[in-house]
């Protein structure tokens, strides 16, 4: 098991290297704007732009730039300086991390806490009105884009913009330590908006898995033993039906982080996603690099955790 984890970590490092190279190459080869010109401001002289370009090292060859960047990451965990904000990327990401963690963790809880029970109830009450309503609603939630759903949520429930001004609106986020009440109020809508599609998808998956599981032979055995139906479903059914969802959830955390970029933008939450969005708008290569690597790192770790967890959940899976 330890050998497996070490091997996976090494592969993860290789993957991150590849990701960093790809983002670097993409933005070097297909620049959206000249960072030096952006930084020099309006009506800058060509000399000034050239000087800035030299300062930033942008006049060096591609491989030299990449090499310098890579050395910084590996030796000092240094993600470079943001062109736009003139501040270290790492510090900027770290300072925005609590907001993103608040958003992603909360959305994950909503995702699982809503999706799984809805799926279970739908499977048990199959073909009932409740089943049809929730599954129909799930289809809508899966189909609705995050930014549209976010705007609708703000329009309906957001303070300042909504018909029913129940929760904090756009830009109302404050750190948890500052004002827990407002923190919560500002995050309720983003949590549900970000979680909606995931919860809906997992409700449908959970329903399908449970229905399939309930026709398995070992469920018949459980019934033949004289177990109550609650125990047959709750223990024998769910154990088999939900285990595959654990793996899926690990993979989908990457998608959740992608959704967080849009959610933070719509709700104006000062998190890593918003930072990434701004970085892209401003062609801020080090900031883009930093956020992409950061996201990739989390996905690699989440996948590893899930794979290891799966070996514990499903005794038939063993890693060598």
């Amino acid at each position: 098991m330890i050998a497996y984890v070490v091997r996976r970590l090494l592969w993860g490092a290789v993957l991150l290297l590849l990701v960093s190279f790809l983002t670097f190459a993409i933005f070097y080869l297909f620049p959206t704007a000249d960072p030096a010109a952006l930084r020099a401001g309006r009506s800058a002289t060509p000399q000034l732009i050239a000087q800035i370009r030299h300062q930033l090292g942008l006049d060096q060859p591609f491989y030299d730039q990449y090499w310098i960047y890579l050395k910084g990451i590996v030796l000092h965990f240094d993600l470079g300086y943001s062109y736009q904000n003139d501040a270290p990327v790492r510090a900027q990401i770290m300072s925005r991390l609590p907001a993103t963690i608040s958003l992603a963790l909360g959305a994950f809880v909503v995702w699982i806490a809503v999706g799984i029970p809805v799926g279970i109830v739908s499977a048990i009450k199959r073909r009932s009105l409740l089943d049809r309503l929730t599954m129909g609603g799930a289809l809508v939630a899966i189909s609705a884009p995050v930014y549209w759903l976010g705007l609708v949520a703000l329009f309906l429930f957001g303070k300042g913009t909504g018909r029913l001004q129940l929760f904090g609106g756009a830009g109302s986020y404050v750190p948890l330590g500052e004002n827990p009440g407002q923190w919560l109020s500002s995050l309720v809508l983003p949590w549900f908006v970000l979680a909606a599609a995931f919860a809906a998808f997992y409700a449908r998956m959970g329903r399908g898995n449970l229905i399939e599981t309930m026709s398995e032979d070992y469920i018949r055995t459980a019934r033949a033993k004289g177990l109550s139906e609650a125990r047959v479903i709750g223990r024998h059914g769910l154990r088999a039906a939900l285990t595959p969802l654990v793996t899926m959830a690990g993979l989908d955390i990457g998608l959740l982080l992608g959704g967080a970029v849009l959610t933070e933008t719509v709700f104006n939450i000062p998190g890593v996603g918003r930072f990434a969005y701004d970085a892209i708008i401003n062609s801020d290569l080090p900031a883009i690099q930093g956020t992409v690597l950061f996201g990739a790192f989390f996905i690699v770790i989440a996948n590893l955790v899930v794979d290891v967890l799966y070996a514990y959940l499903d005794p038939r899976v063993r890693y060598g």
Partner: protein, 338 residues
């Protein structure tokens, strides 16, 4: 008096295509220390009739008629909760494929302990000790270690033994074995059948053995009921079924057994045609469309399951003498002598 008596049992399911009459007026009795073999092809209603005994066919779209009497009390009319207390405790069941019938995520011991603790108020420790005893009783070596194995870590035969241990840990009176050896190798099959027999004798259990394999019947059953299209068409002691069967369907089943001593190149004689639809069942004899001996429908009435000799009942329009003559002509020697 019989331990368990199935009287005129009928089970039908409402489906989108119509009402499926899976079991139609079936009666049989199970007695302590004896094995009744229920034979028939897929869809003949043998498994449905057995599952109905422990109430596992109950569902909103199922209609169950007739009686299933255990200790003088009818099971069909009991509530789900009452039946659940009997299921597993008084009547245990094992299934065809022990790999898919055991939960893949739980250790063998956990599954056996769960069965024990569902019906008896004992501590986990005590239940575990009993589970180990049960595993030992079914001949699993080193039961104290095997109890912590997962199903996929055992061989097919060991898995079926574990299923048996789980079924018998609560000392049931009736064991229903639904194709218990179909998924096993022939040698393992013989061991499992022998094990069922010895456990039956030891504890005085009544066994209902469901199979499509007459070889299994020959090895393990005392009495045989042959089912066709939801009905029993012939019911007799085992030797009678092999030596002097009277129903054309039973003849067909016996013909379709391969024999090592048959002349080389001889083809197996399959029963022509398909089993009838259980939705739009014809009037009259259900086997008539496939029967090579009945020239025309004798009438539109289905034959009764009538006794020809004591203990031998046959559902056929052919006159008894005619049936016996046909059998003698087809088989100069009996199958058991072969």
């Amino acid at each position: 008096m019989a331990l368990l008596e199935v009287r005129d049992l009928s089970v039908s399911f409402a489906t989108l295509d119509g009402v499926v009459r899976a079991v139609d007026g079936v009666s049989y009795e199970l007695e302590r220390g004896r094995t009744l073999g229920l034979v028939g092809e897929s869809g003949s209603g043998k498994s449905v009739s057995a599952l109905t005994i422990i109430g596992l066919t109950r569902s909103p779209n199922a209609t169950i008629g007739g009686q299933i009497v255990l200790d003088g009390r009818d099971l069909v009319s009991r509530s789900d909760a009452e039946l659940r207390r009997i299921r597993g405790k008084r009547i245990a069941m094992i299934f065809q494929d022990p790999l898919s019938s055991l939960h893949p995520y739980f250790r063998i011991g956990v599954q056996i302990v769960e069965a024990i603790r569902t019906h008896e108020d004992v501590s986990k420790r005590a239940a575990r000790l009993r589970a180990i005893e049960a595993l030992e009783a079914v001949g699993i070596p080193r039961p104290g270690r095997r109890i912590d194995s997962y199903p996929h870590e055992l061989s097919g035969g060991m898995r079926q033994r574990a299923m048996l241990a789980m079924a018998l840990a609560l000392r049931p009176d009736v064991l229903i074995a639904d194709e218990p050896t179909t998924a096993l190798d022939v040698t393992v099959q013989a061991q499992v059948l022998e094990l069922i027999r010895s456990l039956r004798d030891e504890h005085g259990i009544a066994v209902l053995l469901i199979t499509h394999d007459l070889g299994v019947i020959a090895q393990a059953a005392d009495e045989v009921a042959v089912m066709y299209a939801g009905r029993i068409v012939e019911h007799a002691p085992r030797d009678t079924i092999f030596e002097s069967p009277e129903h054309p369907y039973t003849w067909g089943l016996l013909d379709s057994i391969p024999h090592l001593d048959a002349p080389r190149g001889e083809r197996l004689r399959a029963i022509q045609g398909q089993p009838p639809s259980l939705i739009r069942a014809s009037e009259g004899c259900k086997f008539f469309p496939r029967c090579p001996y009945q020239p025309a429908p004798a009438d539109e009435i289905e034959p009764e399951l009538a006794e020809t000799t004591p203990g031998h009942r046959v559902r056929c329009h052919l006159p008894v003498e005619e049936r016996r003559r046909i059998w003698r002509e087809r088989h100069g020697s009996t199958l058991l002598e072969r």
